[in-house]
């Protein structure tokens, strides 16, 4: 569908977007409560693991990386769409980003925060997490810089830092709007947060320069982070992991899952907070198109992996890829293919990608599919490696399911909290889209 311009005035845009900061609908409070319940599941599961040791997890000698790594990669992937939508679509001057990019950026920051929990959770002795970082010490012990896991530490922390700064800079003018609509201590609070923004020409000039700069800086990071994550697997000689197509394939998958998650999160929020004027079918249709494109790339990558394994005449590659289709985890493979390759095809039909219930349901299916994709990669290759004597069946334990649920709760909690504290739609950019308030127009009312 063609672009839809918000049919409001500047003042109405301010009020509509900020109103959620002043009142909380009941459904919002219920959602926060659910998030807290899930978090407490996760907290309890982790407590059990800390008390009784890593044996509480379902991992075994063969499948030493279970759902912790699966979920870690899943959340890192979710964290990609925000920067893609905010930085890359900004650079290519795509108009539809305006309504959705702020919430997507928030999603990125909180998803990376969630992913960051998992290396700690996976440690067993979580208090020794500082071993990850190269710090000067008397024993001259250093981290292994040749390990892709170490590259992860640097890549993800860089991505997180740049994403947070980019996110924060973008919010400065909007935080000033919130300040101007607040009183008392709250006003002071937002005044500090927006660095005393007054909207002068000089401030806007610097703002635009900084925003463009960070957009250009963040864009390559979208590619680099998930590429480095993919190398956790691709660098190994493990059959099914050692694959040169992994970096772009992981990046495409990340964007795919991230865009689907934006639909999943923003659609209920839009309905709950009455934002249909600012976030509408036009935005969701474009997100669906992004998912279609990246679904196509994923399908291509799945196909190429299987073809080259067949072509290679490497018995281990041939074995693992056939086992994925017909072995113990065939259900995971089929679920992955259905969710990531087949279900999104419905969006080829304009009616389906402009129909909200269909959009929401397919986006949920994609979220499941992308978790299954990582499960399929991580678990099948380790459960069925080179030595048949080491073949084991892995199934996540209750502790691992609890931690997974806790991560969902943790993510949703931060995201919901953000929605009540900061404007989730970019007010200043919305105003660039609305018709100027000339005499006789809505804005002049």
């Amino acid at each position: 569908m063609e672009a839809v311009r918000p049919n409001v005035g500047y003042g109405t845009a301010n009020r509509d977007i900020i109103s959620v900061l002043h009142r909380a609908p009941v459904a919002y409070l219920v959602a926060i409560a659910c998030a807290l319940v899930l978090m407490s599941f996760g907290g309890y599961a982790w407590y059990q693991q800390l008390t009784w040791g890593m044996g509480k997890a379902g991992t075994n000698n063969a499948t030493f990386w279970g759902t912790y790594i699966v979920t870690f990669v899943f959340w890192i992937g979710i964290g990609h769409a925000g920067t893609l939508i905010s930085a890359i679509l900004f650079l290519v001057r795509s108009r539809w980003r305006t309504g959705v990019y702020r919430a997507s950026e928030a999603m990125t920051v909180f998803a990376v925060m969630t992913a960051g929990l998992f290396p700690v959770l996976h440690l067993g002795r979580a208090w020794q997490v500082y071993y990850f970082f190269p710090y000067p010490n008397q024993r001259e012990l250093w981290v292994n810089f040749k390990s892709p896991l170490m590259w992860d530490v640097f890549a993800i922390s860089t991505y997180f830092t740049v994403s947070v700064v980019f996110f924060y800079i973008g919010m400065l003018p909007d935080m000033a709007v919130v300040r101007d609509h607040s009183r008392g201590l709250l006003r002071k609070f937002y005044d500090v947060l927006c660095f005393g923004w007054r909207g002068t020409d000089r401030q806007w000039r610097h703002f635009m320069a900084a925003y463009g700069f960070f957009a250009a800086l963040a864009a390559p990071l979208v590619l680099s982070v998930h590429s480095v994550v993919s190398w956790d697997f691709a660098m190994a000689n493990t059959a099914g992991w050692h694959s040169t197509i992994f970096p772009p394939y992981f990046v495409a998958g990340a964007i795919f899952s991230g865009c689907a998650m934006v639909i999943t999160l923003l659609m209920p929020m839009t309905m709950l907070f009455g934002w249909k004027e600012y976030v509408n079918t036009w935005h969701f249709e474009n997100l669906a198109k992004m998912c279609l494109l990246t679904s196509g790339i994923l399908t291509y990558a799945y196909g190429m992996e299987h073809f080259i394994a067949w072509y290679s005449q490497n018995p281990h590659e041939q074995e693992i890829f056939m086992w994925r289709i017909f072995g113990d985890y065939d259900w995971a493979f089929l679920l992955m293919v259905f969710c990531n390759c087949v279900a999104p095809l419905v969006w080829y039909f304009p009616k389906a990608r402009t129909h909200w219930p269909t959009l929401f349901i397919v986006s949920l299916i994609i979220n499941v599919g992308m978790w299954m994709e990582r499960f399929n990669i991580v678990v099948s290759s380790t459960a069925h490696s080179f030595d048949p004597a080491m073949w084991r069946y892995y199934w996540p334990s209750g502790t691992e399911w609890g931690v997974l649920a806790g991560s969902v709760g943790w993510f949703c909690f931060w995201f919901l909290l953000f929605a009540r504290v900061m404007p989730s739609i970019a007010i200043s950019e919305v105003k660039e889209m609305v018709a100027p308030p000339v005499k006789g127009s809505l804005g002049a009312k």
């Binding site: 672009a3 311009r5 650079l91 108009r95 390559p220 590619l223 590429s227 190398w231 691709a234 660098m235 190994a236 000689n237 050692h242 694959s243 040169t244 197509i245 992994f246 970096p247 772009p248 196509g296 291509y300 990558a301 190429m304 992996e305 073809f307 080259i308 067949w310 072509y311 290679s312 005449q313 490497n314 018995p315 041939q318 074995e319 080829y348 889209m433 100027p436 000339v438 005499k439």
Partner: protein
């Protein structure tokens, strides 16, 4: 339609008299002559190198020609406006397909002996046995790399992609040719009637064209990815039968799109006055094209690195061999370094500059560097697999590879300029050639107390 005034006739009227400048036509034909002579010399001096040089030229030209059509497809599917003035140039590349397909046919029928897996191979050391090295592996290569299957699937696959592309280009051209024919009458070239058929109404055809382009565009995007990937696996990667990397197909089709963008930029800049594009192809369009080239430059480096790093790290013999030959043997390593400089270091550094993208000659020079860099990259992929001497054969490179490549450029230029001279050089009936309505700024008072509109670029 916005308030922007677009004079369609400005792009129709020149068709009456426009011809390819004699210097361009002469240079193109001379290049073809040089190519034929070079190939002839190669067949005498070293048939293996000559067929390899022809393969490089085919892969390079096929990628660029198909990439040109894909440039149009991407513009259509993304509703992009900035690239519309360049869309037709890319579409015209489809007219080179018959030549490229014929060259491929000749190569596959007469030059297949350079494949080491072929029983009648002329490569030093004889045919490579294709049976698996390991127990328990399926013998897949004997099936996949059997000559009849190999030749048939390539000719049919690439032929299908070309046919689909031609249908797409025809649907894009139709409404424009109808509009132009209404104006030109009998001055319109006779061959247009085969494109126009019985259609009469410009508006109806323009609507239908957009729908057809959107449908065929999606099909083409899928076909391009698949056919170009298998072209890369078969024609190039199988020259080293034991080597495999699943990124290879995507790597080749992405760089093909890149050189198409670069070549479109060169034609638009050099032919700006001849084609009357000055009003539409403004510096900001070139700036955007430059940014696309920069993005693909980074993507090329990224996908190259994505292959080199895991192969180097895992250090498995069936993979490292391919890299070691190209990166460490003295007869090839200089070429690998040159490719890195021409395909990444130089374009990346220079294209960071905003100004250079808006300057005609420096930008043309840089785009030419990219085209040359990818030619050298394809040479680096093909030649070390079939040339086992321990010195680099400069006489063959300069006497065969370069002339054959120049011949391909000459033939390509001849066809593209001949067609461009006789079609509307921009999609005149495409409403996205006009600025977006939101970019047409409304000035409340224009100084005379009247509301006015102005196109904003």
């Amino acid at each position: 339609m916005s308030g922007h005034h677009f004079d369609m006739n400005a792009y129709i009227e020149p068709i009456r008299t426009r011809t390819v400048p004699g210097s361009v036509r002469g240079a193109a034909l001379a290049a073809v002559g040089v190519g034929v002579l070079g190939f002839g010399y190669g067949m005498v001096a070293s048939p293996v190198w000559a067929w390899g040089a022809l393969l490089v030229a085919i892969v390079w030209t096929l990628g660029m020609a198909q990439g040109g059509v894909m440039f149009s497809v991407v513009s259509t599917l993304t509703w992009a406006r900035w690239s519309r003035p360049l869309k037709r140039i890319g579409e015209v590349y489809a007219f080179t397909f018959p030549l490229v397909w014929l060259a491929l046919l000749v190569f596959l029928v007469a030059g297949n002996s350079i494949y080491p897996w072929h029983e009648g191979t002329v490569i030093e050391g004889g045919a490579v046995p294709l049976a698996p090295h390991a127990d328990g592996a399926w013998a897949t290569k004997e099936t996949w790399l059997s000559l009849p299957f190999f030749i048939t699937r390539q000719l049919l696959g690439i032929g299908f992609m070309m046919g689909l592309s031609f249908l797409y280009v025809r649907s894009s051209l139709r409404p424009d040719l109808i509009a132009a024919k209404q104006r030109l009458g009998n001055d319109a070239p006779a061959w247009w009637s085969s494109f126009i058929g019985g259609a009469a109404s410009v508006d109806a055809e323009a609507d239908r064209s957009m729908k057809t382009q959107a449908t065929l565009g999606v099909l083409l995007a899928v076909t391009y990815a698949m056919v170009m990937s298998f072209m890369a696996f078969d024609l190039v990667m199988s020259l080293s039968p034991w080597f495999y990397t699943n990124m290879f197909g995507g790597w080749i089709f992405a760089s093909s799109f890149w050189i198409a963008c670069a070549s479109i930029g060169i034609i638009a800049l050099l032919g700006r006055d001849w084609l009357g594009l000055r009003a539409l192809v403004k510096p900001n369009v070139m700036h955007d094209l430059g940014k696309i080239c920069l993005a693909f430059c980074m993507f090329w480096a990224y996908t190259t690195f994505a292959q080199v790093l895991p192969i180097w790290y895992a250090n498995m013999p069936e993979e490292t061999d391919f890299l070691l030959v190209r990166m460490t043997l003295p007869q090839w390593s200089w070429l690998a370094r040159t490719v890195a400089v021409m395909c990444f270091l130089t374009p990346f550094t220079v294209l960071l500059s905003r100004g250079i993208k808006k300057m005609k000659w420096p930008f043309v020079a840089l785009l030419s560097l990219i085209l040359t860099g990818i030619f050298l990259e394809r040479t680096l992929l093909v030649m070390p697999s079939i040339w086992w001497e321990d010195t680099f054969p400069w006489h063959l490179f300069l006497g065969v590879s370069v002339p054959v490549w120049l011949g391909a450029i000459g033939a390509f230029t001849f066809v593209v300029t001949t067609i461009l001279a006789k079609v509307p050089v921009v999609p005149i009936t495409d409403e996205k050639l006009q600025p977006h309505p939101w970019d047409v700024h409304v000035h409340a008072l224009d100084g005379h107390g009247h509301a006015s509109e102005g196109a904003h670029h």
